[in-house]
């Protein structure tokens, strides 16, 4: 039987079991790295550095995880804070690297043209709308969970998601099936 995230967290807390934490990293690395890649505009090296930092912080502060939210929600919050701190340090974000974006994408599942337009449309969204859309629509968080991750009011999250989605829909109108 596969252990739940809560079981693994308990093992880390009680036995300081780093294998259990490794399993948590394996489970969530893709979504955390994916989110950070989007936020850093496909700067893969920076995104992975931030993801590593986020997981190390999660390990060091795992006692502060009280199980009120999903482990992934808690993790996204740490990752988002790492990104914000880094962005504040750098003051400016790097430009999008189209070649890197295309290289990381699997052309089998989505039309490359549609994916390109979607990524471009996403990159044009303001950061607060992009983050809300990525968390809620791509990573499946509820508005309430996203509000916790971003540490902003629930109403603001809803507004950001709504506005972001509207802009994406307008940008992708030509691709939408009738």
């Amino acid at each position: 039987m596969e252990l739940t995230d809560a079981d693994l967290v308990t093992r880390v807390l009680v036995d300081d079991d780093q294998h259990a934490f490794g399993e948590l990293v394996r489970r969530h690395q893709s979504s955390v790295r994916g989110l950070l890649r989007q936020l850093t505009r496909a700067d893969l090296a920076l995104a992975d550095d931030l993801a590593q930092e986020a997981f190390v912080r999660a390990y060091k502060n795992i006692r502060s995880f009280r199980g009120e939210a999903r482990f992934s929600t808690w993790l996204y919050r740490i990752a988002y804070n790492c990104f914000r701190e880094d962005a504040r340090r750098r003051k400016e974000l790097v430009g999008i690297d189209e070649a890197q974006l295309e290289a990381q994408q699997d052309p089998q599942t989505v039309d490359p043209g549609l994916r390109h337009d979607l990524m471009h449309a996403l990159s044009l969204l303001p950061l607060h709308e992009k983050t809300a859309v990525l968390l809620c629509c791509q990573n499946g968080l509820s508005h309430d969970e996203a509000a916790r991750v971003l540490d902003i009011p629930l109403g603001t999250v809803k507004t950001n998601v709504l506005r972001g989605r509207e802009k994406l829909k307008r940008a992708l109108a030509a691709w939408r099936p009738n």
């Binding site: 979504s31 890649r37 390990y59 992708l172």
Partner: protein, 113 residues
């Protein structure tokens, strides 16, 4: 196309645009950066404490002329009145109990948090 299905379509495209990222050694790199497990740190601390204790005991034994001060003090204790001895034992007992209680309460608070 109604509003709900348009939203489903957009969500699906967003999810599909985020393919699974292969681990590629990422987990191993994270595990390398973690601080050493608590148990290892605690066993190292125990070894250091034991070493210091043994060294201090040996030093005290040498400096006190082969531990002569112990026999001198035991002799002194033996000559004390019974009431003084009782008070000394009671005081020591209370002191140890209070220290134990304090340690237990701090530990339970730490576990609760």
């Amino acid at each position: 196309m109604d509003k709900n299905s348009q939203e489903d379509w957009l969500d699906r495209q967003l999810r599909d645009a985020a393919p699974y990222i292969d681990d590629g050694g990422f987990t191993a790199r994270v595990l390398q950066r973690l601080p050493r497990p608590r148990r290892q740190r605690e066993s190292l601390r125990a070894v250091i404490l034991l070493g210091i204790t043994l060294f201090a005991s040996a030093l005290a034994y040498v400096l006190s002329d082969g531990g002569r001060f112990i026999s001198v003090n035991v002799e002194r204790l033996a000559t004390l009145p019974m009431l003084w001895l009782f008070t000394l034992a009671l005081g020591s007992g209370i002191l140890v109990t209070v220290a134990g209680l304090f340690a237990a309460i701090s530990k339970s608070r730490e576990l609760q948090s």
